[in-house]
Symmetry: C2
Subunit: 424 residues, 2 copies
Amino acid sequence: MAVAEISDLRKYCLETAQRARGASAELASLASGRKIAWLKRAAELLRSGQSELAEANALDLAAAPQFALTAAQIDRLRLAPSAVEAMAVGLEEIAALPEPIGEVIDSSIRPNGLEVLKVRVPLGVMFFIYESRPNVTADAAAICVKSGNAVILRGGKEAVHSNRAIVALLEQAADEVGLPSGAVQFVNTIDREAVGQFLALDKYIDVAIPRGGESLIRRVAAEAKMPVIKHFTGNCHVYVDRSADLAMAERITVNAKCQRMGVCNAAESLVVHRDVAPVFLPRVAKALAQRNIELRGDGRTRSLVPQAKVASEDDFATEYLGPILSIKVVDSIEEAVDHINRYGSHHTDAVVTADLNAARMFVTAVDSAAVIVNASTRFNDGAEFGLGAEIGISTDKFHARGPCGIKELTSYKYVVYGAGQVRE
Amino acid sequence: MAVAEISDLRKYCLETAQRARGASAELASLASGRKIAWLKRAAELLRSGQSELAEANALDLAAAPQFALTAAQIDRLRLAPSAVEAMAVGLEEIAALPEPIGEVIDSSIRPNGLEVLKVRVPLGVMFFIYESRPNVTADAAAICVKSGNAVILRGGKEAVHSNRAIVALLEQAADEVGLPSGAVQFVNTIDREAVGQFLALDKYIDVAIPRGGESLIRRVAAEAKMPVIKHFTGNCHVYVDRSADLAMAERITVNAKCQRMGVCNAAESLVVHRDVAPVFLPRVAKALAQRNIELRGDGRTRSLVPQAKVASEDDFATEYLGPILSIKVVDSIEEAVDHINRYGSHHTDAVVTADLNAARMFVTAVDSAAVIVNASTRFNDGAEFGLGAEIGISTDKFHARGPCGIKELTSYKYVVYGAGQVRE
């Protein structure tokens, strides 16, 4: 179970990528039932492999101090029985999703009788680079394979033993059900240089997907020769319009900020129309104070909420991922939209309003992956949107935007049926 | 009408890109009617501006010898009245396409009552780099604006006066109908360095689209910091299966090879099942000889068609774009598929067969943007597939594959309507 000593890293990465490419050609036309069988068998093996997983996980937990992990990070590293069960259930849920490959997305009959079908196909080979949490390993492998892609998994060094043990069970399931060997591979070294090697192999790898902190994503985006599905920061806003139901606005603001603070779709900033600010701000400030949220506001906010600290330009551009909220009072919905488009990160922004025109204007003009009317920003999530599992939330516009589920890991081809037609 | 002398190229490119970004924000929510009015007015101005266009075109034609253009290239450069009329009609056809922006692509009602809509939005700012033909200028501008994007047009130096004159008319139409200024801009210098400047401005430009020879596309792909929609070579195949109707196979082969030879979806290679090769190859060779097509075949081909030259490995990997066809005889459809996936360019490949299983196997296993059963490869085209106008044919799998029409230049956002929902 030890991490391999790899004498020729370049060769190792090349051969891994080539194996993935070979597997992807088989996966593209693999019967749906084979993929489902693999997911179900992998779930069984995770459950029955509890003790091996716990053993491997103990090695990572023992090594955690040497990586200077925080208590929260160590907690995320822990593979408790409940976490293993959740992984297994996750695989079963992905097994139950409709088969994406071969779906006819669109079709038309042309005047000359040609039947033109747009058919969903896999992208090919995914290189998935992630940090810390070992449960991501099973999840990412399952999503990639369900969508017909081969995947090369590169987890964080802190979780390498746990990840290795999980992949060993996924590989065993693959052997048993006849999934192509090389469909799921684990980068069995913690050498950082391996990432650079894979990112240069655009001949064999179709897409790189980094999931982790901003520096990881920037590194991958800068080095990758293949397309990257990026997930940058979530500096999310709640805008309370002049026509808002203030009880609803309070409930949504508190939920968006407090329900889970360390995640990308939590609110980091509150924008309030001046007409309701005098009533709403003291009220929501009280509710947030009870949850120990620090407030940082502009001048008008501080005149209404004296305990609020001064918000700087930087505050409005910051994803706190913690118990701080920036607040801005605006003269109009147009000013709110400008503020959000300027300081936000185009991830998730909500408006609370009873005014139809305001809602329509906001959802059109705010340039974000998800714009939400009268609900919490926390709903921007693959499961909440009904996509099934997700591999991340894209902050790009190209190819995939917002939650990336199995369909976002696919492409399409045109399949045309004729009866001998030629062009004149 | 002269090309500008630009003293500070870096500043010029930056300001051009910033203007495009500003325009794109307005374009994203511009009323459909305004875009239609622009397209129709631009068509009128092209028609009434014939003499200005002819004057500018004459400058390019006069300069053509200094660029060592071939007769065919000079022909493509010429803006005859019929070419101007075709441009105008092209704009009117794009005006008539359904509005893509705001279309609800998908929707669902979640168990908690949230209404989740996936709504089509523009990508933002396009940088379009193309060679030679001036009619592409109007076409590309129209497709970009119809899909709500601002566009920066960089044409070839050979056509700079013609392109400049066309864009002047497009800008005049924009002024008249109130299209945002900066929606359509022309790079008014032939300095090659301008391309590099724009390709670094990923803060303002969302997508680069090169259209031209392979070296242009490779340069753009290598330098661009933003995503690139690439159109590499079209090494397209016709495979004649053992069960093919040989009259149909001959018609399709001749059409795919000869109907227009200099285009990406023309056939470059013929693959024939051994069972029909003795009858089919001499027959099709005769038809191709009448059209002065040079044949280059493997050993089995040459034993059946003595006039065929020897095909090398390189021949099978070559996009001739001219009167040459490579030929290979195979033992099975599996060998044909392997050959096509190995030597082809994943662009367009056709099978001629009467066998349902063979057709299904071929369309699944051949990894190309378009796979065509019993029709000519020449049908892989935006207009033929019913997409309306196209800006190119993508050989990528990421984001867009095959013909790129107005929808392929869009992204989407999630728009969510609630009634106060929060996450538990």
